[in-house]
């Protein structure tokens, strides 16, 4: 810093901003085109919904941009510690106030670059959030998810394809059956405390609030079975609110539909079953 060149202020700012933009564009290009197998980024957890890839992609964007700054900072930090360690008893330190303009620039320029990276991130995150939480595509099927202490009740549309119509809706506890490549709306409710409906393989999460029905969506894209977890502390049985979601191919789904027809069971009965039986099991030591 004692040998700083006096580049005219504006030029150096422009140079730095151009560099920053190049870095951001590079990061975005790199993870979109160069790096394969983004499907396994989330430590191998499958991307089983239509927006899982977007969320993982945003994760990647953040990793590149923030990771860059993290690595630079730690490298400079450790380099300084090594380079300026006291080697001889009479080693003198420099006197740097940090108050002169050319010194401050070493802080303000990275500062501006960080802001530019943050702006890029803001665009990315707003896009993903809007897609997942605000822009609900038209529903091809609707399910109702009810959280309670300590089980999930899933209400599936019966063979008539309509939720809450006819007597053919299928109620299951801790088991959710879905058809692949179908846009589902879920109506999320809670009978007692806050719970949170979470399917990691879909990347979806939404808290359920008593007194409200919250609508969300997902489109399963990978046949298979995946965990459902409760993601909001709800009492003693919180960690035992394990569910399983089964994503079926179209023909398998029709078969399942025919096989499990609990028409006649009402919501209240099923919930009572869930609460009494399951809760009792789970809270005994």
């Amino acid at each position: 810093m004692s040998k700083s060149k006096d580049i005219p202020g504006t030029t150096s700012y422009i140079l730095f901003i151009v560099t920053a933009v190049i870095c951001v564009v590079f990061a975005i290009t790199a993870f979109y085109f160069v790096f394969p197998n983004r499907e396994t980024w989330m430590v191998g957890l499958p991307q089983a919904s239509s927006y899982a890839g977007d969320i993982d992609g945003l994760f990647g964007l953040i990793t590149y941009l923030v990771g860059f700054w993290f690595v630079v900072s730690e490298v400079v930090f450790f380099y300084f510690i090594f380079r300026y360690r006291k080697k001889t008893p009479d080693q003198k330190a420099e006197y740097v106030t940090g108050e002169e303009h050319h010194q401050k620039q070493w802080i303000t320029i990275p500062h501006i670059l960080v802001i530019i990276c943050d702006v890029a991130l803001i665009f990315g995150t707003v896009y993903v959030w809007y897609k997942v939480k605000q822009d609900l595509p038209p529903a091809q099927a609707t399910i109702r998810v009810t959280g309670q202490q300590w089980a999930w009740t899933f209400q599936h549309p019966g063979p008539d394809g309509q939720l809450d119509k006819g007597d053919d809706d299928i109620y299951l506890v801790d088991e959710l059956h879905l058809k692949v490549d179908t846009v589902y709306h879920f109506k999320l409710e809670s009978t007692d405390v806050l719970h949170s409906f979470s399917i990691p393989a879909f990347r979806i999460k939404q808290d359920s609030v008593p007194g409200r029905t919250i609508t969300g969506w997902f489109e399963p894209t990978l046949v298979g079975e995946y965990d459902i977890q409760c993601a909001e502390m709800c009492g003693i049985g919180h960690g035992l609110m394990k569910g399983r979601v089964y994503v079926h191919a179209e023909n398998e789904y029709s078969q399942w539909l025919k096989g499990e027809n609990l028409s006649g069971a009402t919501a209240a009965e099923t919930s009572a079953v869930a609460l009494g039986q399951v809760a009792l099991e789970r809270t005994s030591p």
Partner: protein, 569 residues
Amino acid sequence: MTQKKKTGTRKAPAGHTSHHEESFWSKYVFSTNHFVIALQYTITGVFMALIGGYMAYVFRMQLAFPGEAVPGFGIVGPGEYNNMVTNHGTIMIFWVAMPVLIAGFGNFCIPLMIGADDMVFPRLNRLSYQIFLLSCVVIIASQFVPGGGFGGAWTAYPPLSSEAGYSLTKWGQTLWLLGVALEFVAFLMGGINFITTTMNARVKGMKMYDIPIVVWFIVIASILFMLSVGPLIAGAVMLLLDQFHVTGFYNPALGGEPLLWQHLFWFFGHPEVYVVLLPAIGVCADIIPVFARKKLFAYKIVLWTAIATGALSFVVWAHHQFVAGIDPRMAHIFTVTTLLISIPIAEMVFVYIATLYGGSIEFKTPMLWALAFIAEFLIGGCTGIYLGSTGTDIYFHDTYFVVAHFHFTFVPISIIAVFAGITYWFPKASGRMLNETLGKIHFWGTVIPFTFMFLAMFPLGMAGQHRRTSDYTIFPELAGWQDWRVIITYCLLIMIAFQFVFFWNVIWSLKSGKKAEKNPWRANTLEWLVPNVPPHGNFTDGFPEVYRGPYEYSTPGRKEDYWPQNVPD
């Protein structure tokens, strides 16, 4: 006769040759002396850390070996697990980080560093400790009441926390709330002292920009605390009334709103993290220049980034609630403010790194801790971006990614910076030097296991492991990671084991450590002028006068590489 005086005085405190013998009780227990109160807060905080650490031991053992009896505890059922997790978090934040960093270091450093003989309201100071101690008793008592300790997480969201029928801890939930409320009152009182003392009781010549950063930061933290805790105190009164079935503020069946508590809690909760961060990073700001023999880079930038961060911290709170059921449009606002708040903190970290440039760095134990703070806190800060960004928070909320993130901020704050401060000021407080070798063993034995332990939690969070669950082997997608959980627990056990080195070092050094000179680190700030083990009144040889800021190290043209604040040209 009134005692108003308008300007600073320079006379030494009077009457100390003639005052009567003080009993043990008046000197150590009911003291109004800031140094004694600092020790009281620090020792109490360390004691509470042992309890909070024990709770972590219990729940980590359960996680590693589900269903097996934990030595020193027994079988950990789901209810006990929740209780341990809840109270570990609550205790570490309110009964360890805050008392040690704000009240412990604040009470010790502020009067000494501004050249005063005590805080301006010593009896209020004593009262604040007494209320704090009462709050410790209450929170500990909550463990032993029928139903057991509260297990609804440190965030205590209703309706779980407002209805004993849901939480199954009728007395525990009330005592928990009362303990927290009492702690708030204690720190509001303490804050009045720190702010007023720093504003008004500075010695002659000490202008605003001559105040050491640690003092500034404790004051800013106190102001942040004061402004943010008010609505939560209101909310806590409301929760208490709900718990007794008098009202239904948070009960939807009675017209209430559960999310209201969340807003009130996090409106406080987010500034609160800066309330604990600022004193910690302030301690490092006062240690790094001393051991690098370099002036703190851009003091004013450091100050303004702290104030900017503090101000911004009031408009980011809902990033804890992205998926809680808030209007999704609101989330956009909060993600923007949250991503922006990372900027002043990043700037502050850059400044600390810049301070090292061109230095002559000595790796004494306090410096090792201060440097470790920077390296580790950077991890915490950077990983926060994933959580502040709405799109990724959908996935990471309530997973171990969050746990890892906040431990990379909280452990540097409440453990690393605390050890930095304790090892730095130990000679002044006790008159003895701590053993350097033991200090270094303790340092590495703490930092290495800590780093591994929490780095391992990031992939766990990425794998979808959610928080506050006592047995992950029941989840097919998570069972395969069990080895990682075992390794994490072993790291914790190693880290706990190395804390014995610290306690041994302290005990041994107090008895047989090398006697310390007045200013063993050759530092500039005023606390190094007083005799070791500061006597009542601190500056018994007369108050100093200040001529410059605290960071004039290696000033060109001077023989010595430091220039104490009280030494004229």
